[in-house]
Symmetry: C2
Subunit: 299 residues, 2 copies
Amino acid sequence: MSLLIVGSVALDTVEANKRKIKDALGGSAMYSSMSASYFADTAVVAVVGADFPYEYIRLLNRHKIDTSGLAVSSGKTFRWCGKYSCDLNQAKTINTQLNVFSDFTPVLSKEHKSSKYLFLANVDPDIQEKVLDSVKNPKFVALDTMNLWISKKIQKLKSVFKRIDLLLINEDEAKQLSKKNNIIQSAKKIMSMGPEILVIKRGEFGAMLFYKNNLFSIPSFPLEKVEDTTGAGDTFAGGFIGYLASCPKITFQELKKAMVYGSVMASFNVESFSLGKLSSLTLNDISKRFTAFKKITEF
Amino acid sequence: MSLLIVGSVALDTVEANKRKIKDALGGSAMYSSMSASYFADTAVVAVVGADFPYEYIRLLNRHKIDTSGLAVSSGKTFRWCGKYSCDLNQAKTINTQLNVFSDFTPVLSKEHKSSKYLFLANVDPDIQEKVLDSVKNPKFVALDTMNLWISKKIQKLKSVFKRIDLLLINEDEAKQLSKKNNIIQSAKKIMSMGPEILVIKRGEFGAMLFYKNNLFSIPSFPLEKVEDTTGAGDTFAGGFIGYLASCPKITFQELKKAMVYGSVMASFNVESFSLGKLSSLTLNDISKRFTAFKKITEF
């Protein structure tokens, strides 16, 4: 089964733990596709500038990520610059340069249009909708978004919500979207907007899954050293959806395992800056951490 | 096996969810003993004033809590007045009146001195130490504390830590005590101070257990309606230690179940003000929620 991901590609400048990296690979499409690539055939639809380092494309291709949908525009690649305080939970955005992203219109190839799994990673909901319109009869559509779009484009988001199966969102965004402080009340309100499956991401405190009347809750995988939390949510989403795309059937049991795989992938991701650790895993690393996750949560 | 708990008895005035209760039963000894009483024979050592409503003592006795160690001093009962913001995670203390607590010296009966399980609930570490000195050869000693004592009496606390088996502490206090931001690093540092077992309570985000080189992590039990979180940590501790006191042997497996029972009891407690719900449970309620907890965390 093939998974198509639309999202951002960024060159990130990040300061965390008194260290700084410059123009490193980032963006929602990059974290999520790299994470998904361990589970399913993955393709990306996104835009980069002429300054985008070719080594990053080679890195994606080494992971068998189909980059034929990666448009190279004249101009500069999208840039994000952020800094983390010592608790690493929340980045302060220093600046954002949209660059080639500001007038990106996704164009899908015939093959991409027939993707069975679609992940609309965090980008402008207008772009998410365009991609959704282009894909014929997808089996499963997931979407991630952020506070910015909830504030600025809520009507568009709500109309897209009616057409998706899964929404992934973090806890603060869920509260913002639902105007409810309680997480269960929040989840019910959001599910009434359309998605049958909802994942609320809670960062270092884990994640919750809502599916019909079922609920599943996990802590995060505990880590003694966290380097940089950038992209953790995207990585979670990629692992989650990548795993689902590898399942013959989507059941509550598989959704629960997808939660754990998402969490496992995110835990690797935060152990290094950029995609350093995420891009150098083996299936054995993932399987071992899945088992370890089971061990620390089972009673 | 009998469990002796020393801690505070308070008359609480609490504002939460736009409701307010006045002079309701509270204090670390009350929440923890009520919670423990569902699992083990429990006795309390504490002090109240002459104004303490007799109905509260009858309530404790109906739960077979031994109140022979509850000293009634002339003067007023300890009072705490707090207010919660809408997220219910953190109370703002409006005022604290120590009253009879200010010169409380615990005196233990012969029977209490031979208690096998001892819980030094959150009070002044000088009081905790006096009780610990009085109990002959306890099998298991647990302690809870708070930010105030970590700031004001750290040397006394550290000397008591060397004599306990289990420390229960919330996440902020763990960071304050260890001067570490990472929870795993924090746990290692705290365990090097003495306790072989450490529980870090994370409120609505669950709890973590550290035992030798083992780790266990749980989310909290999800609730659609939370009324008042006062005493949740004490209730957790009471359920945890009460369950342990009912086990023939303390193993990692039993400690994990104690975590879940602690969490289950705390989840009931926050569903009402004061000890309303906590004091009106059946063993069947507890057992059903334990099973529900397993269902929402198992994969």
